[in-house]
Symmetry: C2
Subunit: 409 residues, 2 copies
């Protein structure tokens, strides 16, 4: 499947000036783009978003493109500018005066030093909505320290909630805090857009990885602070440190099976071992959860995942197949829901990506553009903001604007 | 600190009719409430939200309140209704006609059978924004199956990305998919509100745990599908299956230290062991990451976390303290940023909770109400929707509406 034909989006007509790089900010502006916004990605002339030069396994798509960059930058146009030059800054000033939203994720103070802090942009454009995303917050003892996903997972305790009792730190193998921060950026920007539509007033939005990570663990912190009791991870693999058995993911004869909260008597029926009725007490299933987990695990090895699903779904138990990421695109529900799609990229070819997850009936999200090459849209963006051809040629010739062109077919 | 004084919120005047329970939906409507919306929680007369009767460790706050429920239901008023009775359904009809947003997370079809599906509500109120949150999507092979956080973590591969190579399934010890779904509900509702403000048109929003979990793993799926290579977890504890050393969280003499991406030469300087220069090659640090992790780990045990922070932050390395959840509220940056607050609850007393994470300068979020008792606001809500005193007394006497009252002081 190729990119969806353009239908009206909820954010049609909203222009976003995007100074972000790496993961948190680009994911946020990609979601705004999915919702229909026109996202203008401002990159550093020559090198661009740092994520263009980072990858996994030290490998590249088509020899030069980064999966990390490509995963978070669809639905954007790129302009590559030298912001150390006054002509470069003049381009930003002109764009900021005509955009609705600015998003940036530099360390605190960097944008103000460039002349594009909130106050600067609000002077150019009083209706501007300006979102700053930081690691630790704007000020305070850590404000000048590096703020990054793994560091925030560690500091907020998130890295000590998964896995087994003796596992030490278990960082999540995904950029958890970056992505929560991105979802909070979108929330703040959308709330501010709604408010502006009703009052005419713009405002500043602040998001941090730290606040996002704490909000994510709200239920755990609430329990610790109000039940005055700490979570201890189980030895067995039970899926949450505060839960008893059977809550977990088990091996079967040929794969894996997840078992969530369920009435114990029906679990005993499904497993076919009446002796398990001795655990018919929630307190026992919490206190002796590792023992119960192992008893269940032993029985589950006797049949395949499909066989257990048939038995257990027949009893309306909360169970599902578990599988590694490699198998997910072949899952029948994933295929039915059309959760992967693809788009043509001038260098990487047809690239497969996750589809827009939030579905709006009147204004469906859409994928209208592949991730941009560095500075690919410099000419059209400058023209759109009123530069004439001679001015554009001058900016390019002078190295203020750099433009990558797609390779010849 | 007690609840913040009420300041105008971005969603002031927006009324949300909330049929959700457990985690995903209540967290979403709590965020809408934090932004200023008036959230009306419709609960089952007698029992209420299922989460009121679930807890951790089989323990309760003040003997009867659930930390799980309290963590996700501030800024809401509760009305407890018997929806099997026509008088109960008439109350919902009147409320739906005057609300802006409906959010529900029943299994597909349940609301329509109650007479409150999207089409029903849109007939009562053509401007309605109606959000359905499901586990697996509205239809397809799994639509009738139980959809729950752990099950979605397992099915989408998320449970196989953290931890060590031999760890088997490692579910995240947090309701990851529920919370991502909640953030997507808020995104969809806010985008639809913005669109309605500009066009006058309501619409339907659909969110699923499945689509949310896949979007969360977008970068991983992108890599698998376009680099055609699978992720393998390291043996050592490296923090992401696609990253090389030193990316991880290490033990020190007295605690833990996170080390993110860093220039290798400066890591070698900080660790004070020139022999580590032999790993000065990103490919080696990926291929031999477990060996590098162990070499670093050995050195870090010689000093305290504070000592390493002083050395490493002095070299502008990306490092931070790591700590368990119990210690987080005492962290100086967490205290500076005021990320925990408290509110008075009629039964549980002063309860400590995470503060609003997204900061809007002109319309700051606020915590205006503690989580409600079951049906606590039945009288005032019915009066607000035009029922007179005699009608309200009749609904209560007939058991259509149930009302909990706070205990005597």
């Amino acid at each position: 499947m190729t990119a969806t034909t353009h239908q009206p989006g909820a954010l049609d007509g909203v222009r976003v000036l995007d100074f972000t790089q790496l993961l948190q900010g680009p994911y946020a502006t990609q979601m705004l783009g999915d919702l229909g916004a026109d996202v203008i990605k401002v990159e550093r002339a020559g090198t661009g978003d740092l994520y263009r030069s980072m990858t996994f396994f030290n490998e590249w798509i088509a020899g030069r493109e980064s999966p990390c960059f490509l995963a978070w930058n669809r639905n954007k146009r790129s302009i590559a500018l030298d912001l150390k030059r006054s002509e470069g800054r003049a381009v930003v000033e002109r764009m900021a005066a005509q955009c609705d939203v600015v998003v940036e994720n530099f360390r605190p103070g960097v944008m103000a030093r460039l002349g594009f802090g909130y106050e600067d942009c609000a002077r150019l454009n009083p209706r501007i909505i300006y979102c700053s995303a930081t690691g630790w917050g704007r000020d305070g003892p850590y404000a000048e320290r590096p703020g990054q996903d793994l560091l925030v997972q560690g500091l907020t305790g998130a890295a000590f909630t998964s896995g087994r009792a003796d596992a030490g730190a278990v960082p999540l193998g995904t950029a958890l805090c970056d992505q929560l921060g991105a979802l909070h950026i979108v929330q703040g920007v959308l709330a501010a857009l709604y408010h502006r539509e009703r009052t005419g007033r713009g405002q500043e939005v602040q998001v941090s990885l730290l606040a996002s990570a704490l909000a994510f663990q709200a239920q755990d912190f609430f329990t610790i602070h109000n039940l005055h009791r700490s979570f201890e991870r189980p030895r067995s693999g039970i899926g949450h440190p505060g839960n008893g058995a059977p809550f977990g993911i088990y091996r079967t004869a040929d794969g894996w099976l997840s078992i969530a909260m369920n009435p114990w008597d029906r679990i005993v029926t499904a497993l076919g071992d009446p002796s398990l009725a001795r655990y018919d007490d929630p307190q026992a299933r919490f206190d002796r959860r590792d023992e119960v987990f192992e008893a269940i695990q032993k029985i589950l090895l006797a049949r395949t995942t499909d066989e257990w699903l048939e038995i257990m779904l027949g009893l309306d138990l909360w169970v599902a197949r578990a599988q590694t990421q490699d198998a997910v695109h072949r899952d029948p529900q994933v295929m039915h829901e059309n959760l992967f799609t693809s788009v043509a990229h001038p260098v990487a070819g047809e690239i497969k990506m996750t589809n827009v997850p939030v579905r709006l009936s009147a204004t469906p999200g859409s994928i209208r553009r592949p991730p941009p090459l560095l500075g690919e849209h410099g000419r059209e963006l400058l023209a759109g903001f009123g530069y004439d051809e001679a001015e554009i040629d001058g900016l390019i010739a002078g190295g203020v604007v750099s433009i990558a062109t797609p390779p010849e077919k």
